[in-house]
């Protein structure tokens, strides 16, 4: 029995269908054609209205600067960290601390950072009044600053763990250790040797994820709502405002802005690609100059301090959320609350638990579907000897490269037209678009690394392909599958815009609830929801680590990896 060729087709449909349909919907609405709302196009009115919006250039600049700066800084930190420390004991410790940070949802990390660095935040409390003399929070624009620096910082602390873990996975295929040995034998310093001999090979393997970070950082919504400026906000936040406006005609304006957002991201990606060539040419000069750069201590210790700072900020942010959720009274210059009480949890607990249920239901449904599709695709590709080309990898990354704000508004309008928006299933399928790529990226390596001779032995013993798949391959990959499920659940839990737009405000998850609290500024409620959101994303990872150990406690050879 062969698997139906259905699965790869369905996967492509689930992956690309919403993106393409959404872009079509956005394009249609951007030229003023919205029959669902009684608007007949085409007309240039939405584009004209967008150009006349006074905040336009500030919003565009904000998106470009925060996205570009965050991506560049994250990449530099990760590169310098690997260059200076790869293979050392501090590096391994660093990786171990950074890995769990990957699954802390963006919104929770942003709230934690907010509680840390805002004028009434922990850092200033710790310095007041003994150093600063402040008895009340100073009137400083430390967050939501017009330059978007706080937002950039928030993005950096989240993207550094992502790029680091992606790089480490790719590093295994570069023969880095051998190249480093040769560079060292030629007298090159540690960092320069790595940059000159290994980095080019690594970068070509992490190029697509870097593009994802750039596209994401330029168009992020939840973090920008929490840490970014509000008058004017980033372009993506403004799109969301227009989409949520009771005046439905503003949707065409939102769609025109969405199209602009897409253009901006495409231009930024092209510019980044051009810069890659420029950097390559310049560094060729540097490489052939023969300088050995042996004194790189300043770089090594500089970057490790930066990375430690990222980790510390996220951890103290989470600690701050925890304290606020239990704080009874906590007046300004005090560094710690007067007393702790569970009253915030008691007050918000029932709603939070109900929301937690919806959150998990959506996450598990989307991840379950994605798991069946992904494993089905991998098995079908193997049985039919289909090779996945570089171009197919671009298809996989497409939903992560096209900004969410560019296609979700169009998708929502289309769903509205057929009356399918606001349902739980619509939200699940919207999440599936973003869960699928991560599941594939997470499972592909382990699936293909499985020793094919096991399958040949089993076939020789008379086992059918299905029996080999279900009785041998899947159980042997249990650890990898559970990790992939945890990743998928974390990705789904973190989704803000798809839940909000496709759910039409009817479907509430921990993320939408937490971000909605941002405007009100009730720190105790924010603490409860953001902490619960983080716990919900981390718990599956803990289970994925513990379950294989418990299930295979009597099977020594199943414990590696």
């Amino acid at each position: 029995m062969r698997l139906p060729p259905l699965l790869p087709t369905l996967t492509l449909l689930a992956l690309l269908g919403p993106v393409l349909a959404g872009l079509w919907g956005t394009l249609r609405a951007a030229v003023g054609h919205l029959p669902e709302l009684g608007m007949q196009g085409p007309s240039l009115a939405p584009v004209t209205a967008l150009v006349e919006w006074p905040g336009l250039w500030a919003a565009v600049r904000l998106s470009l600067v925060t996205g570009g700066l965050a991506t560049l800084s994250s990449l530099l930190i990760v590169t310098a960290l690997i260059a200076g420390w790869n293979g050392t004991r501090p590096f391994r410790m660093m990786v171990r601390v950074l890995s769990p940070l990957l699954s802390v949802p963006h919104a929770a990390a942003a709230f934690g950072l907010l509680f840390l660095i805002q004028p009434s935040g922990w850092v200033i409390r710790a310095l007041s009044p003994w150093l600063t003399g402040w008895e009340r929070p100073p009137d400083l624009l430390l967050v939501q600053d017009p330059m978007g620096l706080a937002l950039t910082l928030g993005l950096i602390v989240k993207e550094v763990p992502f790029l680091l873990l992606i790089s480490l996975a790719a590093l295994a295929q570069t023969q880095g250790a051998e190249r480093m040995r040769i560079a060292a034998a030629l007298g090159y310093g540690r960092s320069a040797g790595w940059l000159f001999s290994v980095f080019p090979a690594l970068y070509s393997r992490i190029r697509l994820p870097v593009y994802v970070v750039l596209a994401y950082s330029m168009s992020v919504v939840d973090m920008a709502l929490i840490l970014g400026p509000s008058t004017p906000p980033t372009l993506s936040v403004q799109i969301l405002r227009w989409m949520g406006d009771p005046d439905l005609t503003l949707r065409s304006l939102a769609s025109a802005a969405a199209l602009l957002q897409l253009t901006l991201v495409l231009m930024a990606l092209l510019a980044w690609h051009g810069a890659e060539h420029l950097v390559a040419r310049l560094s060729r000069r540097l490489i052939t100059s023969g300088r050995r750069w042996q004194r790189d201590r300043w770089l090594r210790f500089g970057v490790v301090s930066l990375a430690m700072l990222c980790v510390t900020m996220v951890l103290f942010g989470l600690l701050g959320l925890t304290l606020w959720s239990f704080a009874a009274g906590w007046r300004f210059p005090e560094a710690l609350p007067d007393a702790l009480s569970p009253s915030s949890w008691i007050r918000h607990g029932p709603i939070a638990l109900k929301t937690l249920g919806t959150t998990f239901a959506i996450a598990l449904a989307a991840t379950g579907l994605a798991l069946v599709l992904t494993l089905g695709c991998l098995e079908t590709e193997e049985r039919r000897h289909l090779a996945v080309t570089e171009r197919a990898m671009w298809l996989l990354y497409l939903p992560l490269l096209v900004p969410q704000t560019a296609f979700l508004p169009g998708l929502q309008t289309l769903l509205l037209g057929v009356g399918a928006d606001r349902s739980l299933w619509a939200v699940v399928f919207a999440h599936l678009v973003f869960v699928l790529p991560y599941l594939r990226l997470s499972l592909e390596g382990p699936f293909k690394d499985w020793d094919a001779r096991q399958g040949r032995i089993a076939a020789a013993l008379g086992a059918s392909p299905n029996r080999i798949f279900f009785c041998l391959r899947l159980p042997m990959l249990l650890g990898a599958i559970l990790t992939a499920i945890a990743l998928g659940v974390a990705v789904s839990i973190g989704q803000y815009l798809p839940t909000l737009l496709i759910g039409g405000g009817r479907v509430q998850t921990l993320t939408t609830e937490a971000v909605a609290l941002a405007a009100g500024g009730d720190r105790r409620a924010i603490g409860v929801f953001a902490l619960l959101q983080t716990a919900a994303a981390l718990l599956p990872f803990a289970l994925a680590l513990w379950m294989p150990k418990a299930i295979w406690h009597n099977r020594k050879d199943m414990h590696h990896g």
């Binding site: 000897h385 020793d451 001779r453 096991q454 040949r456 032995i457 089993a458 076939a459 020789a460 013993l461 008379g462 086992a463 059918s464 009785c471 041998l472 159980p475 042997m476 249990l478 295979w552 009597n554 099977r555 020594k556 050879d557 199943m558």
Partner: protein
Amino acid sequence: MDDGLALRNLRISHGERPLLELSLTVAPGQVTTVMGPSGVGKSTLLSAISGHLAPEFSLAGELCLRGRDLIPLRPQDRGIGILFQDHLLFPHLSTGDNLAFGLAPRHRRADRRLKVEEALRQIGLEGYYDRDPATLSGGQKARVALMRMLLAEPGLLLLDEPFSGLDANLRRRVRQMVLDTARDRHLPVLLVTHDHEDAEAAGGPVITLATPVSDL
């Protein structure tokens, strides 16, 4: 000769390029050894016989076991047992379940446990049903892997350098055990190795594959 393995003008090509062509027969209880430098197509030959040839290869000629044409059959219908250098016991199954995985399906559920216990006794591992295969010694693993294959009642044994991972002492004992068992059961055996000692111990005809002329 209808009761063993027969290859008549079996040609394997990689795309348009002919890779190897050979004829050979292996009678029941006989061991034929195939030798040759690496890259000459020994593994490809084993893949062709067991039915795992990658799609970029093509196959022509005759390949029969006990008078039955193997080429149209799926790997699991060919009745060919394989032993690799690593014993490849399934790491998530107990020692006994590994044997039960191999035990031919015609045995009824109630009998299977008894059959496996009996098989464990035969290889000197009585009471090892629930043991983690990872905790077995190298020699014990080799015996379990061999028994697992025999329980599937194959009509032919393919040995893909199955002894090269073992140290000299164990190597001799495991080789003796495998070859004796095959002879006792009147199984035809095709052994691929690059070790002359293996070939001598096998005692049967030795076929040396040479690099194809086109590659020189």
